[in-house]
Every structure is written in structure tokens, then in C-alpha cells.
């Protein structure tokens, strides 16, 4: 007995200590490596873009070719409108189908929906743009923020649906049973107990989907189309930041290049800002020790 306990107290061999340090170093090195491109992009954007950001850039519409000044105010607001429409489409539909998949979808039809969602997730965004073009633009005979929102909304659905499903499945069955045992009906349990328990993860899924489509350019090319002027009517062609960045970046003008960098910086700040805002509002009122 004594002998056994003595042997376990012997200091670790050099080989094991080296292996331990090696593994820790490897984990640290890879996580730093992951951060490098992210930080590099952001720093580069700030360096290139911050010089062109001024009051005019944030409040004025683009100037005609050859004229200096002007801004992207219409594109910033346009992106906001399009993303609002896409969120109104993508989040409810995504959460709804996620609920179906998790709570009722243990069957053939559920498998079909799951498979379709995964395929949709892999469809190139420009193809979804074409779908929105033929579904909304062609019948209406004009480009619009609405069609852009539909395209981006369709792109959000599979991400939100699968995230919601995963998060709901992580809620222990004991929580559902507790609710059933209180005489709470299944739909009420799902909405007020299960979904609520999973809400933090579901919100993260929605934010991921939002951030992903916020930078999409291709599906907007022939849906929202872009616009050089102010437009707040969702039924009209509308400017969007990614589109404006694209147009300016491929232009031959030095001034527009600078504005494209500035637009990219604003776009990233918009995404980070809205994700942070949602996080802060939803984490407020969380309780001590809440799981």
C-alpha cells in the first residue's frame, strides 16, 4: 500500500513534462494563428478606410462620376432596410422549422427537411439571387429592396433552422417532462419553456446567419440592384453597402477606392454593432446562476 502511494507521488518524467508543455504550446499557437487573419483584416481596413470616413460620407449620397466628395448614406440605410426584411423572413421561418425538426421531426419528412436545409446552406449565394430574381423581380418587373431581402432571408433560413434544432435538442427532456407534469400543453411548453431554455443558443444562431448575409453581394446584384439616390421605399431599387463597395472597388477612380475601403469598414462595424447590441439586450435580465 505504502509503496504504491509512494510511486504515484514520484515527479513526472522529463518526457511527460515535455509532452505536456508541447501540447499546451501547440493549442496556444493554433489559437493565435486563428486570430491573426481576423485582426490583420480589421487593422488593414481601419488603416485604409478610416481616412475616408467623415460626416459627408455618413450623410450624403454618391456624387456623379468625376466629382469629389459624396458618401454612402443611402447604401448604409439601404443595407439596413434589406437586412431588416431578410431577418423578418429568415428568423421566424428558420426558428419555426427548427422547432418542427427538434420537437416533431423524428420522421421521414423531418429527415427530408433536414437534408434540404443542408443543401440550401451549400447553394452558392448567386443562385439564390437568381431564385429571388425570378420569384420577385420578374413578376414585379422591377428591382427592389424587397427582392434583396427575400434573397438574403432565404439564405438565413437553413442556418437559423439547424441552429435552433441543435439548441432545442440540447435542452434535457426532464425540462419538457416537468412542464407536461404541470399540465402545460405541448405547444406552450415548446414556446415558453423549451425555446426559452435554449434562447441564448438560438439567438447566437440568428446572429451568425445575420452576420453571414450582411456581407453578401452576389444575391443583391440583380435583386436590390443598387441606387445612386436616396430611397426608403422597399419596393424600389435600393443601394446596399456590399454592392456599393463592389462598384467602387472595380472603378478606376482613386477617390472611389478610398470610399470602398471606408464602406467595408462601416459594414464590419455595422455587423459587429448589431450583434453586440442584440447580445447586450438579451443578456440583460439574466439571472444569477441561470444555466
Amino acid at each position: 500500500m505504502l509503496r504504491a502511494s509512494q510511486s504515484t507521488l514520484r515527479p513526472l518524467s522529463l518526457r511527460r513534462r515535455l509532452a505536456n508543455h508541447g501540447a499546451t504550446f501547440f493549442a496556444l499557437a493554433t489559437s493565435i494563428l486563428v486570430l491573426v487573419p481576423l485582426i490583420a483584416i480589421f487593422v488593414y481596413l481601419v488603416i485604409k478606410g478610416v481616412g475616408a470616413i467623415n460626416w459627408d460620407f455618413l450623410t450624403k449620397t454618391p456624387k456623379p462620376v468625376g466629382e469629389a466628395g459624396g458618401g454612402m448614406a443611402n447604401a448604409i440605410v439601404g443595407s439596413g432596410i434589406i437586412l431588416l426584411i431578410s431577418s423578418l423572413i429568415g428568423i421566424p421561418l428558420g426558428i419555426g422549422s427548427g422547432i418542427y425538426l427538434a420537437e416533431y421531426g423524428r420522421n421521414r419528412f423531418g429527415d427530408l427537411v433536414r437534408f434540404t436545409a443542408d443543401v440550401l446552406n451549400g447553394v452558392p449565394s448567386i443562385v439564390i439571387g437568381i431564385a429571388a430574381y425570378s420569384l420577385v423581380v420578374v413578376p414585379q418587373r422591377h428591382f427592389s429592396a424587397l427582392s434583396g431581402g427575400v434573397a438574403l432571408g432565404i439564405m438565413m433560413i437553413p442556418t437559423v433552422a439547424r441552429a435552433t434544432e441543435e439548441m432545442l435538442l440540447m435542452v434535457p427532456n426532464a425540462v419538457r417532462e416537468a412542464a407536461f407534469g404541470l399540465g402545460i400543453s405541448k405547444w406552450r411548453t415548446t414556446l415558453s419553456i423549451t425555446l426559452r431554455t435554449a434562447s441564448a443558443g438560438v439567438i447566437t444562431g440568428c446572429m451568425l446567419a445575420f452576420a453571414r448575409v450582411a456581407g453578401e453581394t452576389a444575391p443583391l446584384l440583380f435583386t436590390a440592384f443598387g441606387n445612386q439616390f436616396w430611397n426608403l421605399n422597399p419596393n424600389q431599387p435600393t443601394a446596399a453597402l456590399p454592392l456599393q463597395i463592389f462598384v467602387y472597388a472595380i472603378s478606376p477612380f482613386e477617390e472611389w477606392h478610398r470610399q470602398a475601403w471606408a464602406g467595408a469598414l462601416i459594414l464590419i462595424l455595422m455587423i459587429v454593432g448589431s450583434v453586440a447590441a442584440v447580445r447586450i439586450t438579451t443578456s440583460r435580465g439574466r439571472l444569477k446562476g441561470a444555466a
Binding site: P172, V175, E177, G181, G183, I184, I193, L287, A291
Partner: protein
């Protein structure tokens, strides 16, 4: 006030597997009835059939007559949701709603059943927490702390309070103390003793001493059948059936 429970010819299946075989049992009002037996004997299935929780498991079903007071639990017009509201249940592992406050947990059954009167709700929450002997420990942070932040024993008493808040007529407890330490266990047992003034209690337990301590009547289950059902004292001191005797004397199980 509690009401009596009458079970006649109750059969329960998991898929094709018959796991309860024509159970007949009468549990008087305002008494504690213990259900004992070895693992897999059907005792949990039995109590889960009393409030139609059994059928929430895929492929599970039950047949027979269960009367709780005037209510015909498996009658053609019976709504399982309504049945469960009137028959409270406490589970083996404490299962508070993790994102809700202590108050929110106790009030959940009321709120989600459409109860709106705020003042009455406050009173019901306090009454339930007092009945569950938890009020003094949590009254200062009802709204601030999550139900999940309590200790295991407190969580189980919170779950009891939650079940009591919807004012059931019967309380089913499926091994309510098996995940708890001895001190919490004795608190729950004391509580069960108090609760029978207001409710009819059916408790499943692995622990024979516990059955002997809290229950007036005890039923012994073996392989899906009710072997013997009698006064607790009789079951433990002079059982009529050889198998009951073997079990309570620790010869198997």
C-alpha cells in the same frame, strides 16, 4: 383536500413490451402510498400511468381504468393536459426550469395555464414555497436567483412547490429523494408527512426504510405485476407472499 385513486385492470406497454400487467389498486385519500420493488419492476411506469405521462414517451401506451376522485383519467372525454394539471408530479432528478427565477419556476404552471391575477399569484407562490418548506431559505431572492442556482435538495423542494402551486388533488413522486443527500432526504420525508393533510401522495421508492417511514400503505411490484398491497407495517413485518418477504428481507433486488 386530496381524493382517492382507484386503478382497475391497468396495462401498459413500451412498443410491444407489456410492462404493467393488469394492476388493481385503491389508494385512499389523504394517505401516503409507497410503491416499492426492484429496478425494472414497473413502479415508475405505474405512477406515470396515473397522470398519463407514460404516453408522452414514443410508442408507449396504457389501457385500463384509473379514477382520481371523480375524474376518469382514461375516459373518452379526458384531456391528458387537464389530467396532468390536476395530478401533480415530482421527478427523480430535480428539474427546475433553468432560465427562470425561483418565483418564475413556482409560478410557471399558473402563468402558462393562463392565470393572470398578480396578487393571487404572489399568494399562491408563497403558500406553495411554505408548504414545500423552502420559503425561509429563498424569500429574499425570489426574483433575483435562478432555480438552477439552488442546491440539489432545495431544487427538489422547489419542484415540489412548483407542482403544488397549480393546486393538484394528488401528488405523484417518482423516487423524489434518490438523488439527494441524507439531510435533504429527511427534509423531503418530513415534507411528505405534512403534505398528506392536503393531498393524496403516491411515492415510488427504492429505499425500503423510506417507505416504512413515510407511507401508511405499501404496494410491492415485481416484473410488472402488483404482488402485494397492504398496510406498510404488514408488508414489512408479516408479508403474505413469499416473494415480498424475500424482497423486504433483502434476499434479492
Amino acid at each position: 383536500m386530496g381524493v382517492g385513486i382507484e386503478v382497475r385492470g391497468l396495462n401498459a406497454w413500451y412498443g410491444k413490451n407489456l410492462s404493467l400487467k393488469s394492476i388493481d389498486m385503491t389508494m385512499p385519500a389523504n394517505h401516503v402510498t409507497a410503491v416499492i420493488g426492484p429496478s425494472g419492476c414497473g413502479k415508475s411506469t405505474f405512477v406515470r400511468c396515473l397522470n398519463r405521462m407514460h404516453e408522452t414517451i414514443p410508442e408507449a401506451r396504457a389501457e385500463g381504468t384509473v379514477r382520481v376522485g371523480e375524474m376518469d383519467v382514461y375516459g373518452s372525454g379526458a384531456d391528458p393536459v387537464e389530467v396532468r394539471r390536476r395530478i401533480g408530479m415530482v421527478f427523480q432528478k430535480p428539474n427546475p426550469f433553468p432560465t427562470m427565477s425561483i418565483y418564475g419556476n413556482v409560478a410557471a404552471g399558473l402563468k402558462l395555464n393562463g392565470f393572470r391575477n398578480r396578487r393571487q399569484m404572489d399568494q399562491l407562490v408563497e403558500r406553495s414555497l411554505r408548504l414545500a418548506a423552502l420559503w425561509d431559505e429563498v424569500k429574499d431572492h425570489l426574483h433575483k436567483k435562478s432555480g438552477a442556482s439552488l442546491s440539489g435538495g432545495q431544487q427538489q423542494r422547489l419542484c415540489i412547490a412548483r407542482a403544488l402551486a397549480v393546486e393538484p388533488e394528488v401528488l405523484l413522486m417518482d423516487e423524489p429523494a434518490s438523488a439527494l443527500d441524507p439531510i435533504s432526504t429527511s427534509k423531503i420525508e418530513e415534507l411528505i408527512f405534512q403534505l398528506k393533510q392536503h393531498y393524496t401522495v403516491v411515492i415510488v421508492t427504492h429505499n425500503m426504510q423510506q417507505a416504512a417511514r413515510v407511507a401508511e400503505l405499501t404496494g410491492f411490484f415485481l416484473m410488472g405485476s402488483l404482488i402485494e398491497f397492504d398496510k406498510t407495517e404488514k408488508i414489512f413485518t408479516a408479508p403474505a407472499d413469499k416473494r415480498t418477504e424475500d424482497y423486504v428481507t433483502g434476499r434479492f433486488g
